[in-house]
């Protein structure tokens, strides 16, 4: 049904349950592509809105202007004979292509999706659930919860005893313990002394340098949960490690998959507002999403750093394209609106976003959500477990990766293979184990950073490097970024992978990488 003037537009809107501002109708009617604009304006309108506002239409029109240069922009790609010569929109009331998909093109636009088949479920969003008040007891509670829950996964594997009980045991016997790593030291003779701590106290465990487990020592981080088994020394002052257990992902882990062929794009680190934000690449990406090639991409997951932020590092204002933080989110929202309206979007904050830096980071506050309502994205905390058509995705921004990479030897974790660093987090079943280093902790009543359930996909960003692989059948993906190399990255020798979108088949957990830069 072609849209021929305001009356038809109003009727079309009414049929979809909207009233509209008079000016909004005029704007749509005078647009080059009234049908497309109407579609997108409805997408852009706030959720639950009853009235389509002028601003909603304006934003759509503005965004359209922004993206005009992109040749693959669906609206311009469509060949609509009636308006092909109309330089004055008012003079072409006779109509338009009926729906966006009616006519083919090169590339072909995608078909609208069936929302009823989409499903998203968020398990552990802690937004609005931050109950910690920064007291000593809050910190203790977090670490106790960590020992309790991750220790629970290990207690079956060793014959564990509390630290104080071990201290009281006679020498020479076999012993097991589950605890947090409190300290890792090398001894003068090259052995390793690992102090395990539980709710009763600490006990030192010696890993002999020539034993098998010695290799594992350099991948240990303080405050991760471990189980150890070994032999007590004669004076019972120390135990010699015979075996060491991580909470780990079972080798037998079988991931869930979607029932149909459907895909999710996993991205992060958009950094809108930075002078290095790659808007051309982003535009190509969103253009592509509108094509047939992206027909099956029904989900977009964004793992933090939507914007470049303010005051992240000294003199940052000199390198900002958009200095105002709220303008940054406004612009981000504009860019997000280029994504087809029927994609489901989930996003978590990162360290550049305007939320607290300490983890877990709650999702954006009302003010920022207000700015980003246009695309009706779900905004949840960092980290969060998001289940998409049965496939669970652990989304975490990835600040702790810096620490894992710094602490572990280069062959076990490096910026070039960020997914390998992620394997260690999976193995430790904790997204940021080490306290007191790079990663900041906000104490809550429980440890939100534990990987309680094994995810099917583990998605992080932050290090601006693309890398993916499977660890015990869990797909680990570190998405790249949408920011070109910054001076700082140059100064610390990081060459980012910019402008990539890894696409995951949710029915097979296979990954294809689309490049837009």
């Amino acid at each position: 049904m072609p849209l021929e003037g305001p009356a038809r537009i109003v009727s079309e809107l009414t049929s979809r349950g909207y009233n509209a501002d008079r000016e909004a109708v005029t704007l749509i009617a005078t647009a080059d592509d009234p049908a497309g604009v109407l579609e997108r304006a409805i997408d852009a309108a706030p959720e639950n809105a009853l009235v389509l506002r002028t601003e909603d239409v304006r934003t759509v029109l503005d965004a359209q202007t922004d993206t005009q240069p992109a040749a693959t922009e669906p609206t311009s790609a469509r060949q609509d004979p009636p308006v092909s010569t109309g330089t004055s929109p008012d003079a072409s009331p006779q109509g338009e292509g009926s729906t966006p998909v009616e006519t083919g093109g090169s590339p072909a636009p995608r078909t609208p999706l069936d929302p009823s088949r989409q499903s998203i479920d968020v398990a552990n969003d802690m937004t609005g659930q931050s109950t910690g008040t920064g007291e000593y007891e809050d910190f203790v509670a977090v670490f106790r919860d960590r020992l309790e829950r991750l220790g629970g996964k290990l207690r079956g594997r060793v014959n564990h005893r509390p630290a104080t009980a071990i201290q009281a045991m006679p020498g020479g016997g076999e012993v097991g313990m589950v605890g947090l790593v409190n300290d890792i030291r090398s001894t003068a003779s090259g052995h390793w002394l690992i102090e395990l701590e539980d709710a009763t106290g600490t006990f030192p465990w010696l890993v002999m340098k020539d034993r098998d487990y010695a290799d594992l020592v350099d991948e240990l981080l303080c405050d991760e949960v471990l189980a150890m088994e070994g032999t007590l020394s004669d004076d019972a002052g120390i135990a010699f490690v015979d075996s060491m257990y991580f909470p780990d992902v079972p080798r037998t882990h079988q991931p869930s998959t979607a029932d149909r062929h459907v895909q999710a794009a996993l991205i992060s680190d958009v950094h809108v507002g930075s002078q290095e934000f790659m808007h051309d690449a982003w535009n190509r990406f969103t253009d592509w999403l509108h094509t047939e090639d992206a027909q099956h991409v029904e989900y977009l997951l964004i793992a933090g750093d939507m914007v470049e932020g303010v005051g992240i590092y000294p003199n940052q204002d000199e390198e900002l394209d958009i200095i105002d933080i709220y303008d940054q989110y406004e612009r981000f929202s504009e860019y997000l609106k280029q994504v087809p309206g029927d994609l489901e979007i989930v996003m978590i904050p990162g360290n550049h976003d305007a939320v607290r830096l300490a983890e877990p980071q709650p999702g954006f506050d009302e003010n920022l959500r207000e700015i980003m309502t246009a695309h009706d994205a779900q905004i949840v905390s960092n980290p969060a477990m998001v289940t998409v058509e049965g496939v669970s995705v652990l989304m975490y921004h990835g600040v702790s990766l810096d620490e894992v990479i710094a602490e572990l030897p280069a062959e076990k974790a490096s910026y070039d293979d960020p997914h390998k660093a992620m394997y260690h987090l999976l193995k430790k079943r904790h997204v940021a184990p080490q306290f007191g280093g790079h990663t900041r902790l906000a104490p809550e009543e429980k440890d939100h950073l534990i990987i309680d359930e094994v995810p099917d996909i583990f998605h992080t960003g932050h290090v601006h490097k693309l890398g993916f692989g499977k660890y015990h059948n869990v797909l680990a993906i570190n998405s790249g970024c949408w920011q070109a190399q910054t001076d700082f990255q140059k100064s610390v020798n990081i060459d980012p992978d910019s402008g990539y979108a890894p696409i995951v088949d949710l029915d097979t957990l296979e990954v294809t990488v689309q490049k837009f830069a």
Partner: protein
């Protein structure tokens, strides 16, 4: 040397010897670690250098070279000797370079500091990618004590020796260059650098340095990129290397350049680019685009700051405009890291800021700035004598001194009066009524300061001393005028001035020369018009008054040119208006004789920032007399550190270096330790201590005491091999290694000591009772190698006299250093008789000394104590007397009842980071909270006067109580300890900064004219004598002339308001309030900077610290990296708590937000605060239990 100088030194030395005799006798009797005085007297620098290095032949060669060349040149000459093997016994090329580098550092630090041994780890030869060999120098942390110049020169010497022994230059790999940049940044963040080079700068240096700089890791933080490099051993920051790179090469590039240009073998052409800041061209990555948006007022441009330090071509960059007046470029570096509570007094080159005047007051020297005491008060007392200011030029920082022979500030009062305040009384009277400080007053800097900083001369303010010479040059008999009792050349009446100017054709007197250069030509025209419409009224006693209509334009113009006047609601009144009116090109009848069209094109376009913003040319075209620019150079300044005059106490204070472990409680109370018992079954007072074991060789008794309790013989340390437990005796070199096990033996062990008994015995020995003192504080443990405790008797007497000891056993008092070369008995609170007794016979003019207000030239080792120091010295003297009588059984040495009796006593001056004390003599006292002494005395301690502070000790205290055995056994432990003393100052062997001090009593006219050309300071070295010129002559100790006198060396506030104001908030409010009042300060920028550099880093840092903090047991002090899962302390079961609390994280949050709002800060800044505030809420507030406001109940 003159006979009187020789006599002076002999007096000091005989006095020193006398004291030494007493001390030696005492030491033989006492129970000290050594039975003799432990501070040897050093003959000269050559000796010190050789001793410190342990390389034979150096002393002799140094003495040979010393007469012929500067020390820097001698260091280079010695490098040649090392290279050809004539000095030092080195086989390898690396060894030769190492020897040369160490010697250079020792030489440049006068053998005073430990840097040559502790600061340079080793030198090695490594291989370039093309297979050639290059030199790698390993620096360690203590290189810091060598100072930037010696650090930089050490690199040059390494390179020079490298060239001589035939090694190639270092070709840095790209990743190494990047690593340097990251590492220097990391070190700066972690530890802090005096100068923080930008990454580009570091990279530029790293790329071009012909030798590799390396060093040992000094911090725990690691770099995140460029790790595990092949040729860099560590991933942590190498502190020594970072210091040499940043504070050495980057900061001292101009100094190195002086020497590279003299050497043919090596070539550092890139230094010029470094100095000019033009290295950006070299870096393709430096975006031009960033420069484009730098127009936001504060001009935080990168390269310009380095560049302008030497910018001697003022017209560069202004090519598109007709020539304007000579001006320096604004530099903003001094504003960096602005701190809350420390105000800005003037933005860079800002109108209304301090006006640069040249001259040396008698209390001026290296790195000091003269300010009128009225200015100090008007600036809300933030400046006091000795307060450090950070300054735009010529140096980085300076100590403030009061000089009342320069001009004070000009202020507008609430009643509309605009007055120049040249009098302290007046300043105090009007200070509460000040609305605006239109002009901060003059700022006196001596020529030597420009020499020292190698800074192009900045255009001079027009001042009387210049005008007089102009008058002379015009052919006037100035002598006749000076002799005429009716004429005051400094402050002549208006008629007189015009007469001179017209008659002799000399420029207008500075008193009536207004700041026309700040007025635009258009405003000048308007003012002339307004004045021609004015009337003249008979003002009564004061003569005639010019009355003008009160309009905004007139008022602003008058305030701009800073002329005294009165603003009344309907009119503006100007007294003494004749020269003013003539300068406007009007007749005495206010008749206008010109119109703006009559002005030449040149005069109309004359300007600094834009065409026609400077009316000085217009003035000269229309006025019947020549008018010079009154204040062409304004100096930006802000407050640095406050002045200091405080006793040096350890924290917590210590009376005796006797260990008592935890038994004394947090107070370390020895009496408590004497009663302490851990359990009921323990004997009270018996404490297990880590202490050095000694044995009596006579009777075999084991003890920790230095004298056998059984037979009273002296004991020796009892070393034992920790492995085989056999006794080991030290070898000749003092090393104690077990022959069998090949490990080091130790005499330290845990022993039960009856502290109670020691305490009682000590009380008894000195015949004191416990009520003689409030508390006797010991130490928790000893940090020295042999852990020899101090006899507790000394502590008891210290406690009795309320003095405390430093780590080395001495009692110290800290003061900010200030120089003075001539003094008056009256200002020192001493009599003429006392001065005469010290050998002062005549005043600076050679007249016999008879009056207390005659100026006498200060002798080089005489020092002035602050009142606080004098008080403390008297307490120390009483302690020493008791010590001699009650402990050593000798006669009292000082017997001081009145502080006047301190005059003539000897003290040690001793600076941090050095290891040599300098003997000084007390000459008098000052109420200023500083230590005034001859600049050479400060230089002998290797201090300058830019806010540095150091300590004095009473001579006998050092001799009796200092022991090397107390010094901590760690890197740097031997710093700040008098390992040696210099009994007489040789001006050639002091920090050569002092040599650049000018010593003339007047600068010639050519000098002032050269400043207008912005000449290089070297260009006028022939016409202004500096101290260097008299070195090695009979006059090296004397003849320090000064151009400006000052009534008293202590004027202005006694203490800076920074110290008298209470909380940080009060200080900051005062800082911002002052910013509002000052014409030369943009208060928004101040607020912005305080937030940016103080509040935000504080908030961010504390928030970060909060979320990764360690915890501590409140009971036993045990620290935990992470909160223990036991919740309570694992050691003692006590309560554990956080070390960073909510309160310390958000203490400035609200203030910062308020300040940002009130002073209109940028949105960017406000938003940063907003985001932080939300973060704080998110971390510290329970989402489910939000604090509710009243609105919730309505």
């Amino acid at each position: 040397m003159r006979a009187e100088d020789e006599r002076y030194f002999e007096t000091l030395e005989s006095q020193l010897e006398e004291a030494m005799d007493v001390a030696e006798t005492a030491k033989q009797r006492g129970d000290d670690p050594k039975p003799e005085v432990e501070i040897p007297v050093a003959k000269d620098m050559a000796d010190r250098v050789e001793n410190i290095l342990g390389i034979d032949g150096v002393a002799e060669r140094v003495r040979e070279l010393e007469g012929q060349m500067s020390r820097e040149e001698a260091a280079l000459a010695l490098a040649e000797d090392f290279a050809d093997g004539s000095v030092g016994d080195y086989e390898t090329k690396a060894g030769k370079v190492e020897g040369a580098v160490r010697t250079a550092v020792a030489l440049l630090t006068e053998g005073v500091v430990a840097a040559p041994i502790e600061g340079i780890d080793k030198v090695e030869i490594l291989t370039n990618d093309d297979g050639t060999e290059f030199v790698n120098v390993y620096y360690a942390g203590p290189i810091r004590s060598a100072g930037g110049t010696a650090q930089a020169l050490s690199v040059l010497v390494a390179d020079y020796t490298r060239a001589l022994v035939g090694l190639e230059t270092y070709e840095a790999r790209q990743e190494e260059i990047e690593r340097y940049a990251e590492e220097v940044g990391l070190y700066d963040k972690e530890t802090g650098l005096q100068y923080s080079p930008k990454d580009e700068e570091t990279k530029f240096i790293a790329k071009h340095l012909p030798i590799m700089l390396d060093g040992e890791a000094t911090g725990d933080e690691e770099v995140s990129g460029f790790r595990d490099l092949e040729r860099v051993d560590t991933n942590s920051a190498r502190g020594g290397m970072c210091l040499v790179m940043a504070e050495g090469i980057a900061l001292k590039a101009p100094k190195i350049q002086r020497y590279t240009s003299q050497l043919d073998e090596i070539d550092w052409p890139w230094l010029q680019d470094l100095i000019d800041g033009t290295y950006y061209d070299d870096e393709a990555s430096a975006g031009e685009g960033e420069d484009g948006d730098g127009g936001d007022g504060d001009g935080e441009g990168e390269g310009d700051e380095e560049a302008n330090a030497n910018d001697s071509s003022p017209d560069s960059g202004a090519d598109d405009r007709p020539p304007g007046p000579p001006r320096v470029e604004p530099a903003t570096k001094f504003l960096r890291d602005l701190i809350a509570g420390r105000p800005v007094f003037s933005h860079p080159c800002a109108e209304g800021g301090f006006r640069l005047r040249y001259g040396r007051a008698r209390n001026h020297g290296f790195a000091t700035a003269g300010v009128h005491p009225a200015s100090m008060h008007i600036l809300d007392d933030f400046l006091a004598t000795g307060t450090q200011i950070k300054t735009e030029r010529p140096g980085k920082a300076a100590g403030v001194i009061p000089v009342d022979s320069i001009e004070g500030p000009t202020v507008r009062l609430a009643n509309g009066d605009v007055r120049q305040i040249d009098d302290v009384e007046e300043a105090l009277e009007v200070r509460n009524g000040i609305e605006k400080i239109l002009d901060a007053g003059e700022y006196l800097v001596n020529y030597g300061e420009f020499v020292e900083n190698n800074h192009a001369l900045a255009p001079a303010a027009y001042a009387v001393e210049w005008w007089v010479q102009d008058l002379e040059a015009a052919g006037t008999d100035v002598q006749a005028l000076e002799d005429d009792p009716r004429i005051d050349l400094e402050d002549p009446p208006a008629e007189q001035v015009l007469e001179w100017a017209l008659e002799y054709d000399a420029p207008l007197h500075p008193k009536y020369t207004y700041q026309w250069h700040d007025l635009s030509v258009v405003a000048f025209d308007g003012l002339a018009e307004a004045v021609s419409d004015g009337t003249v009224e008979d003002g009564g006693a004061g003569g005639e008054t010019l009355v003008l209509e009160h309009t905004d334009a007139v008022r602003e113009a008058l305030e701009t040119i800073v002329i005294e006047h009165r603003q009344r609601p309907d009119r503006i009144e100007v007294d003494d208006w004749d020269p003013f009116v003539r300068s406007l090109g009007l007749t005495a009848d206010l008749e206008r004789t010109w119109s703006i069209e009559d002005l030449s094109e040149r005069a109309r376009a004359w300007g600094v920032h834009e065409d026609g913003d400077n009316a000085i040319e217009a003035v000269n075209e229309v006025a019947p007399v020549a008018v010079r620019e009154r204040a062409p150079t304004r100096i930006g300044t802000r407050m640095g550190r406050p002045e200091k005059s405080e006793r040096r106490d350890l924290s917590p204070p210590v009376h005796t270096l006797f260990p008592i472990g935890e038994a004394g409680g947090a107070q370390r109370n020895v009496a408590d330790a004497g009663k302490y018992a851990e359990t009921m079954s323990d004997t009270p007072g018996v404490v297990e201590l880590e202490i050095g074991r000694k044995r009596c060789e006579a009777c075999g008794e084991e003890t920790f005491k230095n004298r056998c309790p059984e037979c009273n013989e002296r004991t020796v340390p009892d070393y034992e091999c920790p492995s085989c437990e056999s006794r080991v005796d030290p070898d000749e070199a003092g090393r104690v290694e077990c022959d069998r096990c090949e490990i080091e033996a130790t005499c330290v062990e845990y022993t039960e000591v009856d502290v109670h008994e020691v305490y009682r015995d000590a009380l008894e020995a000195v015949g004191e009772r416990e009520n003689a003192f409030e508390i006797l504080k010991g130490v928790k443990g000893l940090t020295s190698t042999t852990k020899v405790p101090e006899p507790m008797e000394k502590g008891i007497l210290r406690a009795k006299h309320d003095v405390s000891t430093f780590k080395d056993g001495t009692v110290r008092y800290d003061m900010t250093d200030l120089p003075v070369t001539a003094v008056r008995a009256s200002e020192l609170d001493v009599t003429v008789g006392q001065l005469e007794a010290l050998g002062y016979e005549e005043d600076v003019h050679g007249e016999p000394l008879t009056h207390a207000d005659q100026l006498v030239e200060l002798k080089v080792q005489d020092i002035v104590l602050s009142d606080g120091a004098a008080e403390h010295m008297m307490q120390t003297a009483d302690f020493i007397d008791d010590l001699l009588e009650q402990y050593y059984g000798l006669e009292a040495f000082y017997e001081i009842d009145d502080r006047q009796e301190l005059v003539g006593e000897l003290v040690f001056g001793m600076a941090p980071h050095t290891s040599a004390a300098t003997v000084g003599r007390v000459i008098g006292f000052t109420s200023a909270a500083v230590g005034y002494a001859h600049p050479f005395f400060h230089a002998a301690k290797r201090r300058n006067c830019d806010g540095d502070e150091d300590c004095v000790m009473l001579l006998m205290d050092g001799l009796l109580n200092f022991s090397i055995s107390f010094l901590p056994d760690k890197r740097g432990g031997r710093m700040d300890a008098p390992l040696v003393m210099s009994s007489r100052i040789d001006p050639s062997e002091i920090d050569d900064e002092a040599h650049n001090m000018d010593v003339v009593s007047r600068y010639p006219r050519e000098f002032y004219e050269a400043t207008l050309e912005q000449a290089d300071p070297g260009d006028v070295e022939d016409i202004v004598e500096i101290a260097e010129d008299t070195l090695g002559t009979d006059h090296e100790y004397t003849g320090f002339g000064h151009t400006h006198d000052t009534t008293d060396i202590a004027m202005g506030p006694d203490l800076s308001a920074y110290k008298t104001l209470g909380s940080m908030m009060d200080k900051m409010d005062a800082q911002l309030e002052l910013a509002r009042k000052l014409e030369a300060v943009d208060e928004t920028d101040v607020a912005e900077r305080v937030i940016e550099y103080h509040f935000l880093p504080d908030l961010i840092g504390n928030l970060r610290a909060f979320s990764r903090q360690e915890t501590r047991c409140l009971d036993c002090g045990e620290k935990f990296r992470r909160m223990p899962l036991t919740e309570v302390c694992r050691e003692c079961g006590g309560r554990v708590n956080l070390t960073v609390h909510k309160g310390s994280v958000n203490k400035y949050m609200q203030t910062a937000i308020d300040v940002a709002e009130e002073y209109g800060c940028r949105d960017y800044t406000k938003q940063r605060l907003e985001v932080l505030e939300k973060s704080l809420e998110s971390v510290f507030e329970n989402d489910k239990n939000k604090q509710s406001g009243i609105a919730d109940f309505m």
